[in-house]
């Protein structure tokens, strides 16, 4: 894997992933359906994957928010479900309200909390794999040897952990909105 690609992955891990819960919350606040939110987020990551020079972006979280906002707008236009409040918008649901330093700090804390939650929810062996990865900096191959399991098992556990954090990001700040979520589920069922 090229060094440039590695840098991009680290940049996304550091600045974009932590902002994802807030961006999703903003989309929800502006009335986007869960399907649409997933779709817009995925679109935004595609843009980021295609960015020629991501280092130039001074406020990555704000850039992410702006990208999603534009995609959302384009979509509303396309679908002609133009609702009054979305165009007389007070822009606030889509603003990252901090300077870059504070933004990064708040994001980093949020991400640590999320990562911590996810790691704690994983089965014992999976947790151990990530302990060895984080602290010892071991490769999957070395971890497999130490734990006396096949490399496929390690790879599989790594995949599960990624899926767990993907799911956590998708629903992270819905924890305290369970009522709203149930209502949305009912709506879709009915």
């Amino acid at each position: 894997m090229s060094a440039h690609l590695q840098d991009r992955i680290k940049w996304v891990a550091r600045y974009i992933i932590p902002a994802e819960p807030q961006v999703r919350a903003s989309l929800r606040a502006s009335g986007a359906a869960p399907d649409v939110i997933d779709d817009l987020i995925q679109d935004a990551y595609c843009r980021i994957a295609g960015l020629a020079d991501f280092v130039q972006i001074e406020r990555p979280a704000a850039y992410f928010m702006q990208t999603v906002k534009n995609l959302h707008r384009d979509r509303l236009r396309r679908e002609r479900i133009i609702r009054f409040e979305q165009f007389t918008e007070t822009t606030d649901p889509f603003v990252i309200p901090f300077g870059s330093e504070i933004e990064a700090e708040v994001g980093a804390r949020r991400e640590l909390q999320m990562v911590d939650d996810v790691l704690h929810s994983l089965p014992e062996r999976c947790r151990e794999i990530f302990r060895l990865k984080r602290i010892e900096g071991l490769s999957q191959k070395e971890i497999a040897r130490i734990l006396h399991v096949t490399e496929t098992i390690v790879e599989n556990d790594v995949r599960k952990a990624v899926k767990a954090l993907q799911a956590a990001l998708r629903g992270y700040d819905m924890k305290d909105e369970s009522g709203q979520r149930r209502a949305a589920d009912r709506e879709r069922a009915g």
Binding site: A29, D38, D176
Partner: protein, 334 residues
Amino acid sequence: MKADNAVQPTENEQVRDVDSEAAAWAARLDARPGEPMPDLDDWLARDPRRSGALLRAQAILDALGGEGTETGEPAGQSRDTILSIAMSLSSARRWRMASSGALATIAAAVALFFSLDDAGQVYETQTGEIKQIALADGSAMSIDARSRLEVDYDSSARRIRMENGRVIFRAAKADPRPFVVEVGAVTITDIGTEFQVFDDPASDAIEVLVTEGVVEVATGSERLRMTAGQRLKVSRSGVQTVHLKPELLPTRDMLRTTAWREGRLELDGETLSEAVAQLNRTNQLQIVIADPALGSKELFGTFQTSDPRGFAQAIAVSLDTSITERGGVIVIGS
């Protein structure tokens, strides 16, 4: 890897399938770094959206496993310290609070008046009150909180005497009479345009901002023309120590400066003290900054001017300080 579904899946399922496959690829790339993977290239080529999903999955894996590997510090310790400063309010909840009812509040605060006779009419706004006034000639005024002005139209001129506060004037062009705003020793004559006059109680300065068209500003013996995008600060008393020289404002800053009209406070590096002064004009619920060091912190973002509580909570979280509220006063940094 799963094949593409034949049945038309919902968008959500599509996204989840792609995410799930991306997670598998991220794990495989991590297992065999540097190995060529023609299957992966195939997978990526079949749908442009997959590159984004893979980047996200790899970043997620990096977040899960990348920490501490570079610094080599004992992970447990440093992470616990950071986690103990947990955010008291989730960002989602904060924004819900900021936006809930905000529209209703603004709607209630912004009253629309139609005035038929504009001879000697006085308009005054209290704390927390924004008025939109339509004048008989078709001109309009947006009057910010804590402002006072008198409209005096006669056959020769449309004259407005401003005593204090901040007003955006939009003068109707059809009327042949000059549209004149007098504030202190300064006279602003409109030549078919929109402009804002801010008589700042905290200073001796009067600030004129032209958002459209041309105005003429006269003070003492000096006189100059200002065009759209220009801002000028003049002494209220008319005594000028330097030549009048307007500065050109980028459109973005111009919109920001007049955002109060829409009930928004837009900050782009303004200090907490400046932001609080603005909010205190607009709200009964006053904010006090207890810690002077906080007052100079720079802020970015958009807030509802009608929601000082939401503002204070956002500040508390972002500046890592506390707020208390008692007796109609919010204290930041107590």
